[in-house]
Symmetry: C2
Subunit: 353 residues, 2 copies
């Protein structure tokens, strides 16, 4: 029930996903009287679907703390289904902060993971690139960054199908004074870890679009700013190009002549192709669709969730984590993190040990 | 003597600048036997120029701490000239870290400024935008962010000619959990400051290219990543467009038809037009030209320095700072900052009080 075009685009996206994944079963959580007529248009989806009715919805602007109290909301029931083992994963186009907070508290982090992270895939000059964290953790320590690298590696293997993805730690230029102490320490750990062969070292902002590495690891503040800055720059360029191609009759004809290539470029950069930010490090698969996407974009978010379930993403995380913990026995859970909301998952994990 | 094409492009850039600023005098510091024949080609520049000979050069990859020991290097002598009042400002295409460290130690910060910052101008959908800090300070506190806002305001007035530039604090989305505590506190200070009417509040990564505000304030780590991420995205798009327009005969003809508009777009995004990162908060004007720029780009960096000198940039900073200090008497200099190199300027300032 979340996102700008819900529930219509969710059901339409589900219909596309049901065609692509004939073996899958879907649990559709939301307002049944609204969902039924939409589902009636899509025979295969209707056959693959169970509706769980609830009229309660978490609004897009509701604070996570308030969202936690709505125990009958559609997002909550979907997450409950994952926590209870009924569903392997959840896909939502709703309130990101609420989804993250609910997932951390209800589904919980994987044992050994201090902080779950948000990851997404984007375009680069050398193929698709995974970046994390994109905003789940504003402040990150050495352990978090190392765990992000472990999770980014497994994610790139699982979803991009790479056998040995290269990994870069986002930093400022060697030319400038220096990076943050935590980033340098994380690099030292990665250099001697099982990822040492894949670890490229530090990368800078321009390396994201250049595709210097397959995985970019950074804290949630920097990752969120970098993601949105890059998207903003591409959007600006797109607007300017539209202006150029409508600025004269000759330019319009020019557009028509160059159209096949320009259309390929537009498709390549299509945000729908990259829709589906993933929350990594939880006991189930959690995918956040952009709230403003359409049916194709939502279906892509379902594809990402499917990939993670089918390729047993979390088994890979457990393996990678075991190797890092072996190497760094000091990397146990810790207390006293000062990140407020962000520490919910971490402190629960610490308490559980 | 710094940068990829030195000293040739520096002299060629100086020649352009000398034409544009007929009243200006230039002190050219470097290897005289190499400079004289280059200068001989440009009559007006030669007439406006004094050469100060030194054969010692700070290499592009030299660490700032090592650069500080080269007391006869061209960059050092140029900075000495500013510190001694011989020159109003310095423009260098050399080692950024060395320039920053030397400027902080030799020219010193303006009284009341805890940390100088690097600022630059870039394109946006709504006109040119100033962003700072771009890498001078990896870690920033509330006071630093507030001072960056004060300096960004004066810089946008001085160089962009705006009467009341709008100011945004870079943060992560309200949708995500929350921003950093320091950023929220800086916002509280700005809301009640003399900048309250210009302070737009928080902005996100996509607001940089959108031009939501004229000035974007952030810490040096985030600013450096954002700048390079945006540049990288635009560069990727440029590469892809070149591929599109050479992918078929029709596309080539299409390019020719749309060329006037595409050329305008290219000129608008031309990095040379935005060359010249400025170190704000020092007792003199310090401009860093990109090391890979050409004569036009270097001349633009000289233009920026000229603007700052002619429009008495530092008087504006003093005024703005006085208003902020009045408001927040607690914002005096502090000790014990933990940022290593970055604290050189700050601790000297504290010691001087």
């Amino acid at each position: 029930m979340g996102g700008d075009g819900a529930p219509d685009i969710v059901v339409a996206g589900l219909a596309i996903a049901a065609e692509r994944h004939p073996g899958a079963r879907f649990l559709l959580v939301g307002d049944e009287p609204r969902l039924l007529p939409l589902l009636a248009r899509h025979k295969r989806a209707a056959g693959a679907c169970t509706i769980r009715h609830t009229a309660e919805v978490i609004a897009g602007d509701l604070k996570p703390t308030a969202a936690l109290r709505l125990r009958g909301a559609s997002m909550r029931l979907a997450i409950d289904a994952v926590a209870g083992g009924e569903a392997a994963g959840v896909v939502s186009a709703g309130n990101t902060g609420a989804l993250l907070a609910l997932a951390k508290i209800v589904i919980k982090s994987l044992p050994g993971i201090d902080r779950p992270a948000m990851a997404a895939i984007g375009p680069s000059a050398r193929g698709d690139v995974v970046m994390l964290d994109l905003g789940a953790n504003v402040l990150c320590d050495v352990r978090n960054l190392v765990e992000f690298a472990v999770m980014g590696d497994v994610f790139a293997r699982t979803v991009l199908g790479l056998t040995a993805p290269t990994i870069g730690l986002l930093n400022v230029g060697s030319e400038e004074l220096k990076g943050d102490e935590r980033i340098r320490q994380a690099a030292e750990v990665l250099k001697v870890s099982h990822l040492s062969g894949q670890f490229h070292g530090f990368v800078e902002g321009h390396d994201i679009a250049a595709g210097t590495t397959d995985v970019i690891v950074t804290d949630g503040f920097t990752g969120n700013v970098a993601l949105k800055t890059g998207e903003g720059a591409l959007k600006l360029m797109g607007q300017m190009l539209r202006e150029v191609f409508s600025s004269s009759l000759a330019a319009r004809i020019g557009y028509l002549l160059a159209r096949p290539g320009l259309e390929r470029l537009r498709e390549w950069l299509d945000p729908r192709r990259y829709n589906g930010a993933v929350m990594l490090g939880l006991g189930g698969v959690v995918v956040k669709s952009h709230g403003g996407t359409d049916a194709q974009g939502f279906a892509h978010a379902v594809d990402v969730a499917m990939d993670m379930v089918v390729h047993r993403f979390n088994d890979g995380i457990r393996d990678g984590l075991a190797k890092i913990v072996e190497l760094q026995p000091g990397m146990g859970p810790k207390n006293g993190s000062s990140d407020g909301q962000g520490s919910v998952g971490g402190s629960r994990l610490a308490g559980a040990r």
